[in-house]
Symmetry: C2
Subunit: 205 residues, 2 copies
């Protein structure tokens, strides 16, 4: 595409580097920016620069935080259960369910030999250390990882490492999504959900 000016072309190229934004959306954004006042662009620009410069990661749970000590150790949360996730969006998703009140631990990725990511590149050692500290009284580690080759490999590796501690290691349930129709479920999920079937629980209230 031919752009009217060099400034527009430059801005389109920069904005289209962001995920989910193509050249056409970027051009639409650029043309809308030109209709706003200068404070508008300055305020967006400041927010993204500050975001990148000032965001910290918690020393304990490795979650994105405003400070190096996040609220993960707050007494309101159950410190005896640690939910292990790949990345921060997973925490947001789990928090939004309002079904979990324990602690989190961000691995910052999954074991993936094809991408050159081994266990040493992830926050696994610090997880073991957290479990190892007696005051933490960790009773359970939940592996809330993706149902992929990498997720399964990482779960297996961590479960093996945690074996000697004699604590409960669980994984989130996999199966047919709530509201999902059987005939439209993919074969692998359906097959797995038959093999890993669970006892029927009758809700009598």
């Amino acid at each position: 595409m031919e752009y009217p000016t060099r400034l527009i072309e430059n801005a389109v190229n920069e904005i289209s580097k962001l995920p989910g934004i193509g050249k056409k959306s970027a051009l639409r954004i650029v043309l809308s920016i030109l209709k706003e006042n200068e404070e508008f662009t300055q305020s967006i620009a400041d927010a993204i620069v500050k975001l990148r410069q000032e965001t910290k990661y918690c020393r304990i749970c490795h979650m994105i935080s405003d400070t190096e000590d996040c609220t993960c150790m707050t007494p309101k949360r159950d410190t005896s259960i640690i939910c292990v996730v790949e990345d921060t969006p997973d925490i947001i998703a789990i928090r939004n369910t309002a079904q979990f009140n324990g602690m989190f631990h961000v691995l910052d990725g999954l074991i993936s030999p094809i991408d050159g990511i081994g266990p040493e590149n992830l926050n696994i050692d610090s997880l073991i250390r957290r479990v190892n500290i007696p005051e933490n009284q960790v009773k359970e580690v939940i592996l809330a990882l993706s149902s992929s080759m990498e997720g399964d490999t990482t779960a297996f590796y961590i479960a093996k490492k945690l074996k000697s501690f004699g604590i409960k290691v669980t994984t989130i349930a996999r199966g047919i999504p709530v509201g999902g129709e059987l005939e439209f479920t993919d074969e692998i999920t359906l097959g797995r959900s038959i093999v890993k079937r669970v006892n029927y629980e009758m809700n009598e209230d």
Copy 2:
């Protein structure tokens, strides 16, 4: 939604002000930014601030330009035909067809009493001045405006203003889109295209 940090919340709020980006897309962008180095965000921030601060509008055709004199008067283009458009994206669209080699004139909006936009808020006077300058030798003004109430009102107003100059005033053809099937065309377009039917041109080559 609950965001992990104040910085993320602020960045999500700022980014979701842009057109076509909701809170979810903004969060995806924010989390991807955190994985890039600081030059990445600085470069995007600079591009949008610079875009807004340095973009000029041509004094003659009012098109977005790097300088106050854009390339609209270049001898390569046919200066005797002026194509009047609402805004810059229309120029990009018309240029991409490679079917027009004349000049452009950006109105910067359409007459819309409901939004308080009258002819005096648009670049109509400067269009009349351009037509009035003998050296320009303007022979035709094409009204390439949207097929809406506002577009029709604006076209009518400009056509009336240009009447005394004795030049040709045309409007872009409206009808069934090329490749469009008759049965799926909306009633108004179809009705209009019957009323405004044209002589059949036989291409014998």
